[in-house]
Symmetry: C2
Subunit: 347 residues, 2 copies
Amino acid sequence: MVKKNYNLSLIGLGTVGSGFLDILSSRKHEITDKYDLNVKVVSVSDTKGTLYDQDGLEIEKILRLKSEDLKNPLKSYDESKFDKDSYELVFESNSDVLVETTPTNLEDGEPGLSNIKKALNKGKDVITTNKGPISLEYQNLYKLSQKNQVKLMFEGTVLAGTPAINFIKKDLAGSNIKSVRGILNGTTNYILSKMEKESKSFDKALEEAQKLGYAESDPSADIDGWDAAAKVSILSNVIFDQSIDPSEVLREGIRNISLEDVKNAEKNNKRIKLIGKVNKKGKEIKTSVKPVKLSLNDSLAQVMDATNAISVNTDHLGEVSVIGPGAGKKETGQAVLNDLLRLKDYR
Amino acid sequence: MVKKNYNLSLIGLGTVGSGFLDILSSRKHEITDKYDLNVKVVSVSDTKGTLYDQDGLEIEKILRLKSEDLKNPLKSYDESKFDKDSYELVFESNSDVLVETTPTNLEDGEPGLSNIKKALNKGKDVITTNKGPISLEYQNLYKLSQKNQVKLMFEGTVLAGTPAINFIKKDLAGSNIKSVRGILNGTTNYILSKMEKESKSFDKALEEAQKLGYAESDPSADIDGWDAAAKVSILSNVIFDQSIDPSEVLREGIRNISLEDVKNAEKNNKRIKLIGKVNKKGKEIKTSVKPVKLSLNDSLAQVMDATNAISVNTDHLGEVSVIGPGAGKKETGQAVLNDLLRLKDYR
């Protein structure tokens, strides 16, 4: 079979970006032999600038330099191939696909939003794990991708590499989706699990989540439900073709959940979970993120610790659920690789 | 966008076949508008013969006649379009796709196996829900489909319309699968759930399953693990490209599970489930179906009643599970529709 050549540009060399390069390096032969793709990375950008070689960069060398904790690993690769100016080089490069993994910004989606727009306008397919642009501007970005006859893939924005976006768009095609509920944030689920199983206070459980690297030092994005709201927004875009800004999602976090609340629920054979929900009533899309007391035989009640899940309610199948990790380096790298492998057959 | 035309031949007008026609009829406009397919059914065959019209049959009329409990509903449609001889007419017809839904036969796969082979050799894509041919002859059928440049789709053979085959082949592409465990049979899971929740004996619970239509009057295919073994065989074909005959699967059913066993497990915070398993040790594929005492925090332990599930263990994601219905008329019809919608983009 004729192999398809892909030149990639990667913007963002944080956990997700380097996780993807790790996987790409270890799966090189399989990608070529089993999936008939020849993949080259022609540019890699971080906040300091862009490393570019139209003939392809040596991924292993980039990863080695990155692991050495240098001040500017990309410049250290080869100064003559490094440009400290913005990402403009990327859009003018010979890449076919932009892999966009800059950090999520739910206020204006930047810098991801501009990166994605420019790439689509230059006729590049885009794979992103960045929740900002997809939750804020999906409908416009989708139209832009159609206009330029390129693809916009974003499996990694919800539940990392655990199938969610493609599960809904492809695997459930043919059935009508009435609603989706989900445990969409690992940090809050970890905290609630610790409170219940180890009778820890909210503050103690949060502290542990921070120690383990689940929660940021400013944990607001997680515990106030912003991260889950962005995912709810993305799901409503995908399922109902309707744009809901994360700030429009009815949102209540877990900051005010006390150990007593958790224990009282337990006494009544219930479990408190932070549930993100999208459903359609008539023509209206309803979205929410809030703590809900679930009965123990609810499939979402059994999802513990940092594990995530979505439960999709459809006409032909009733409730169908997917359970798996919702974050992590190789878990999100897998989402990018999966999007890449599907690119050539995707509509 | 240019619409793709599909002429279908349907063999088998039982629960699955008529379930698919039901869905096809109710989703007609959506299939045309949203998925850009023009679908016509040019032939329908049951055990009495074949109804054929190269310009397309009226699905609603077939369903109406079928619901009237006539002796020969297809002949009643239009005697001049009916042929009581075998299915040969189907293979010579102008159909592009064979939808094969004859009953599963795990001894020699017939009549499904011959139907599928003939269709592939005539250059027709095949969508089947028949476990016999896929578990017994998948590798040969796959090669035949490649040789004839057509597609062989079988989502409905495992977990009905709950995504399993495509979930593994497409959504998890890029990760290496180490093992799969599953609750692959609804009848046995229903029986075990009844025994635990309502303290019923095995015989009482089986009787109820039979009343509800879950179990056949000869329940051996379910309770002796044959149905689950066929699905284990299909999973090992898909995941490890290795053919394991259902009779080669280490197999133990639930016939000898007593209420006492179930209650003893419960006392130890365990739950007995009939688990189908496939894993690879070195170069050897190990397959089994047997009752297993699961700890209650195992994701499969929480799957109750007739619900089914698979848990896939992968290198990049750890354990990822799908939970949903494993049988039913519209549930399996959905599997066929989903395969049909994916056909044009499938590799």
